[in-house]
């Protein structure tokens, strides 16, 4: 019988220490959302490289919230340290002067303490041991996001993978990359109207750039407390580009416009490709120093690739480094979506505004594409305008896909890559503007 009662108490103990006992309904909602995101990543293959680690991080933090716990440092007396079964000699100490009454209240025996006389009053020197309890695994991995280290590293990898050839061949694509950033600034006004502070509004608006690393970088500078919801919103919308963009593109263009076949791009020489990153960095760093970390790393990666003399470094930036940072970034961004912190009206407002920003960016890009189509007498397909919202290369693929639905022999991919990579530079420039004005 005693065995059964012990077994029962073990089971009760396990239940009490498990997540089941402490989780609120918000955690269960977030776990359900994480399952939906995993389904989209695995079954539908919507940006699985991002969505899968995000969804998994979201799930695990809602089952075991302590995985994101901050490290805790406690100041304990010698007796307290010993009562915890720890050796006081292995912990750093700090000392403090207390009056006799204060020392007794703090649990010290005054007769055992060294005392000093200052100005005729007796003070007792007490010694505290600082015992630090380590934080959760994701807390440490998250520091790369929190300190704004991962976004520029991701940009290094993107730069090493990006071919700016289509943009150099057709520099007018920059206009479309700039147009798609208008959504950012319009959303900023919307967020102010809804009562967000200016720095919060800036962080929310940058979601419209559809560039996760840029959104994280801006938010870590302007309003770090919103990092979780903004990062999740930015990456989720990047992953959901195939669902969000096509209806807007079709709504704003005619069948005839979508069928436009664009001429072949001119070949770009190696020298032009090598000069490009240097020119961009020099110009952007001089005009907008706040955008220099992002644009600088993007162009450094690109210079590695185009120079052709540091193949090993370029390959590391494209593959190993990029993959490692993506794993850490994805899983820790997902882990910021803890149900109790995430399911609040403010967060839901951020996610709604982020979606509006993203839709506005797409719409502005397509509308400017229409203007360019009209100005060039039908030589530009307006669908490539939507690719101006960075999200490389998914947004360009969407332009290709929607164009091909109208005309299967139409290949817009390389034309859309121009505005797409211009969008990366444009969103980094917009980020620089937001940081320099709102910081």
């Amino acid at each position: 019988m005693e065995i059964f009662s012990q077994l029962g108490s073990v089971i009760v103990g396990l239940y009490n220490s498990s997540g089941l006992c402490h989780l609120g309904w918000q955690n269960y909602v977030m776990i359900a959302i994480s399952f939906v995101l995993m389904f989209l990543a695995i079954k539908k293959q919507y940006e699985p490289l991002l969505l899968l680690p995000i969804a998994f991080g979201m799930m695990i933090v809602n089952i075991f919230p302590d995985i994101m716990a901050n490290p805790v440092t406690q100041l304990l007396t010698e007796g307290q340290v010993k009562s915890m079964g720890l050796d006081p000699a292995s912990y750093p100490t700090t000392s403090e002067l207390l009056t006799k009454a204060q020392a007794i209240t703090a649990g010290f025996e005054p007769s055992t303490l060294a005392h000093v006389n200052i100005g005729g009053s007796e003070f007792y020197r007490v010694v505290y041991y600082s015992v630090t309890e380590n934080g959760g695994l994701f807390y440490y991995l998250y520091q790369g996001v929190h300190l704004g280290i991962f976004p520029p590293l991701i940009f290094l990898g993107i730069g090493a993978m990006t071919d700016f050839g289509p943009l150099i061949a057709n520099p007018k694509s920059f206009i479309l990359g700039a147009a798609a950033q208008i959504g950012i600034f319009i959303t900023f006004i919307g967020a102010i109207i809804l009562g967000f502070k200016t720095n919060e509004a800036g962080s929310i608006a940058i979601i419209g750039g559809a560039d996760g690393p840029t959104a994280i970088f801006v938010t870590s500078k302007l309003s770090p407390e919103l990092l979780g919801p903004i990062a999740v919103a930015a990456y989720s919308y990047m992953a959901l580009v195939p669902i969000i963009q096509p209806p807007i593109m079709k709504l704003l263009t005619t069948k005839k416009e979508r069928s436009i076949v664009m001429g072949q791009l001119r070949p770009v020489s190696k020298l032009e490709k090598i000069i490009f990153p240097i020119v961009v960095v020099v110009l952007v760093a001089i005009l907008l120093p706040d955008a220099a970390p992002l644009v600088g790393m993007l162009m450094l990666g690109n210079l590695f690739k185009e120079s052709g003399v540091v193949d090993r470094i370029a390959k590391t930036a494209q593959n190993e480094l990029m993959n490692i940072v993506t794993i850490f970034l994805g899983v820790t961004v997902g882990a910021t979506a803890s149900g109790t912190l995430f399911l609040t009206p403010k967060t839901l407002g951020i996610i709604a505004l982020g979606l509006i920003a993203f839709c506005l960016g797409t719409a502005c890009g397509v509308l400017f594409g229409k203007i360019m189509c009209w100005a060039t007498k039908g030589k530009i397909n307006p669908l490539i305008g939507s690719a101006g919202v960075s999200a490389v290369p998914m947004a360009a693929r969407i332009s290709q896909k929607v164009g091909q639905e109208e005309n299967p022999a139409n290949f817009l991919l390389m034309h859309a890559m121009g505005p797409n990579v211009a969008g990366v530079i444009g969103s980094a420039v917009a980020a620089g503007v937001l940081i320099s004005v709102l910081k």
Binding site: K44, Q45, Y46, L167, I168, P171, K172, F174, I175, G177, A178, Q181, I182, I184, F185, I186, F188, I189, I192, I193, T198, A201, P242, V261, G263, Q264, R266, P267, V268, S269, L271, E272, I275, F276, V279, V280, L283, V284, L287, L288, M394, R397, Q400, K401, Q404, P408, A409, F411, L413, A422, I425, G426, V429, A430, V433, L434, V437, L438
Partner: protein, 131 residues
């Protein structure tokens, strides 16, 4: 009200700065692109002139029945001098592989236009179908 003024001024400033920076980039890229293209074109013609002026080289080329020289001359006469030399060499090698020992000569290399072949289309569709 103060925030609204800031928002409007940021909208205006952001719009202008982003466009100005990117338009500056357009101008710089267009200008240096043209300079590099012109420089590369002039160095190419200079090299070609040097080659035709060098009697030993042209004699050697004639002796070997050099495909590259023939094609280059044909390519420039057709106005397709944008096709890189490596591509022409690959095309010439492919022709040689097909014709083998039969007497043959590549006279010109032309782009086939924007319309791809069925095989080309199949390849591009295969590579651009992520979902």
């Amino acid at each position: 009200m103060e925030n609204m003024m800031l928002a409007l001024s940021l909208l205006l400033a952001g719009f202008i700065i982003v466009f100005v920076v990117l338009i500056l980039l357009i101008i710089i890229i267009t200008v240096y692109g043209k300079i590099i293209q012109a420089a590369q074109r002039s160095s190419k013609t200079r090299k070609e002139k040097k080659k035709t002026a060098d009697p030993v080289q042209s004699a050697a080329a004639a002796q070997h029945g050099s495909i590259g020289a023939d094609v280059k001359a044909a390519a420039s006469s057709e106005g397709t001098d944008e096709i890189p030399g490596e591509i022409i060499a690959v095309i010439a090698a492919a022709v040689d592989a097909v014709y083998g020992s039969k007497p043959h000569r590549v006279r010109s290399v032309k782009r086939s236009g924007t319309v791809r072949s069925a095989w080309g289309n199949a390849g591009v569709i295969g590579n651009t179908r992520p979902f």
